[in-house]
Amino acid sequence: MKSLRELAARLARQREWSLVALILLLSFGVWLKAPQFLSAANLSQVAILAAIIAVAAIGEALVVITRNVDLSVDSTIGLVAYAVAELLRQHTLGVTGAIAFGICLGLVLGMINGGIITLFRVPSIVATLGTLSIYRGFAYLIAGGGQISLSDLPAEYIALARASVLGIPLYVVVAAVLTLMVSIYLRQTRFGRQVYAIGSNPEGAAVLGIRSRLVVFAVFAASGCLAGLAGVLWGAKYGTITAGAADGVVLLVIASAVVGGVNIFGGSGSVVGAVLGALFLGLVANGLTLSRLSQFWLQAIYGLVILVAVAADAAIVRRLLRASAERRRAITATEAPQP
């Protein structure tokens, strides 16, 4: 068991550092081609967009580590973004109140997912596929084909996207603090270890007395809550919001987690990796724009990045496994003649 855990940890570490190296390399390449890449305006633009995806990707990573998947994040982001904007337009709530409402709405949507999955033992991919269209339907229902534009929203809300703390964009600070908190929580607490235990061996976790259903419920609630926050950030950043907001973003969120080394079969991966994955994908999009390559290539490149990331993962795992098997064979060979 120990070697397995070491293996997973080693893989995760390797992935994080190789991602950091890739991010630096890509940045350098883009900078060579387009020097304006390093301008403060562009860097903060990249970081802010990546931060929104990263917040949602933290939640997705938690869910995927437990061997589940949350496909409903983009509908949650869209519904929350629209609901918050609608409340602000009608002056029902103040900015703080509306933000709190948005996060709570996300939490409730996540709890609905978690409830369906744990109470009725519905596979998460089915349940969230269903709520993906249900939540989006609600967004269209309250929007009724309408659109909220920048001028409808209070200035303080829009200002969030431009605010900065000590020169660092507020969005980036929020994403960084959340990454740090969730990361420490996963590593240092009993609950955090249980998240990994459930994903790596569900039967074993049950034998150990881990209340899997409670933990799974909690990670879905957390994912909904984080998607709600991402929705709040999304609304303030884009200003123009329709019921179709954030449509298809779930692909980007899951891709971030996968590129960041979170194993789709659960049990291994880290939140830091998922966040770095979001940053990497954001850089790819920005690099494409700056080097004046056609935007039409973006989706195709995302697809290739996902395929390369999983293929690399599988190759590394296979190599490590072979190495550890050989080591074990060597050990048994030397031990054999002793008795």
């Binding site: 009725f120 991919i125 269903g130 692909l251 995302y302």
Partner: protein, 341 residues
């Protein structure tokens, strides 16, 4: 302690271990599931006829089937793939890529007699890529096809850009929304029925069909029993790619317009139809007739809601609810009967 753990490392066995505890008599459950679907279908037809006088007309029947045939056609190979314990999320993008390439070739002056086979071959090649990545490289199909979902859509927009090609010849567009002469049966329905009969026969009456179930139940046991798991799975992905490309041709013909963003979001509808048809998302059980019933149930539900002036938004809520309920109900029934573990 270490040896069994080592065996468990392949992603495919990890997936197999996700299988839920087997339920009381799978065969009788599935039979009941299909009779339930027939009941729902009858209720919907009776309800639809009461909602609107238009509903029970041949013209409406033709409209509602033609609008749903791309989903139905793609659901057929998807049924086999999900029963084999895999999934193909890339079908909607392959549909879009097929539409884009067909439009591109036609705009470049290539005859449709050449363009259509080329597009079908391209679909098979895309499916082969999925299949090889899943079986030879041992990657999880969920992630592989998520990758090709983005890749194929990206290639579609690279090929065609934002333009739409629409000057197709009349004989081609007639295939998409025309009927078989003298009947209210649209051509795409004929394609669907032929595909359903062929795949239903293969799945339920032949040796390879049994192997598909065996793979879905327990891939490593199937492999040790001499089933060529990798080859069969690759074939299923190739079939799925080619059929998705065919659906792209049909959609292009029906709308008489080729666009790179054709069919966006259809994978959701396809997977919904398959699961509503009683196929287990973890593989190993399900029937093709069930999925055919589910395709028509969804089509009639949407048509009836549209005729009842229910907005499309509410329709998507209804479809999502139906999907969840279809999985929750059997669970609750089994629990009430005391079949829960």
């Amino acid at each position: 302690m270490t040896t069994p753990v080592e065996v468990d490392q392949s992603p495919r066995t990890a997936e197999a271990s996700m299988t839920r505890p087997s339920r009381a008599s799978a065969v009788s459950r599935l039979l009941r599931w299909e009779s339930l679907l027939v009941l729902v279908l009858v209720v919907l037809i009776v309800g639809g006829a009461r909602v609107s006088p238009v509903f029970a007309t041949a013209q409406n029947f033709s409209n509602l089937t033609v609008a749903t045939m791309e989903v139905g056609i793609m659901a057929m190979p998807m049924t086999l793939i999900i029963i084999a314990g895999e999934i193909d999320l890339s079908v909607e993008s392959m549909l879009g890529l097929a539409s884009a390439v067909l439009g591109f070739l036609w705009a470049a002056g290539v005859s449709l007699w050449i363009a259509i086979p080329v597009v079908l071959l391209m679909g098979a090649a895309g499916g082969l890529l999925n299949g090889l990545l899943v079986t030879r490289a041992g990657l999880p199909s969920l992630v592989v096809t998520l990758g090709t979902l983005a890749l194929f859509r990206g290639l579609a927009s690279v090929v065609l850009g934002p333009r739409a090609i629409s000057n197709f010849p009349g004989e081609f567009t007639a295939f998409g929304f025309g009927n078989v002469p003298g009947t209210p049966v649209p051509w795409p329905l004929v394609v669907f029925v032929v595909l359903a009969l062929a795949l239903g026969t293969v799945l339920h009456l032949t040796w390879p069909g049994r192997e598909v179930f065996a793979i879905g139940k327990n891939a490593s046991a199937a492999r040790y029993s001499g089933v060529r798991v990798a080859r069969l799975k690759t074939c299923l992905f190739v079939l799925s790619g080619a059929v998705a490309a065919g659906a792209g041709i049909i959609l292009t013909s029906r709308l008489s317009s080729a666009r790179a963003d054709a069919g966006q979001g259809l994978t959701l509808a396809v997977v919904t139809a398959v699961l509503l048809g009683g196929v287990d998302i973890f593989g190993g059980s399900g029937t093709l007739p069930g999925v055919v019933l589910a395709v028509f149930t969804l089509a009639i539900l949407q048509n009836a809601l549209r005729l009842a002036d229910v907005s499309t938004q509410l329709q998507s809520i209804a479809v999502g609810l139906l999907l969840i309920v279809s999985v929750v109900v059997p669970h609750v029934v089994i629990r009430i009967r005391g079949g829960s573990r």
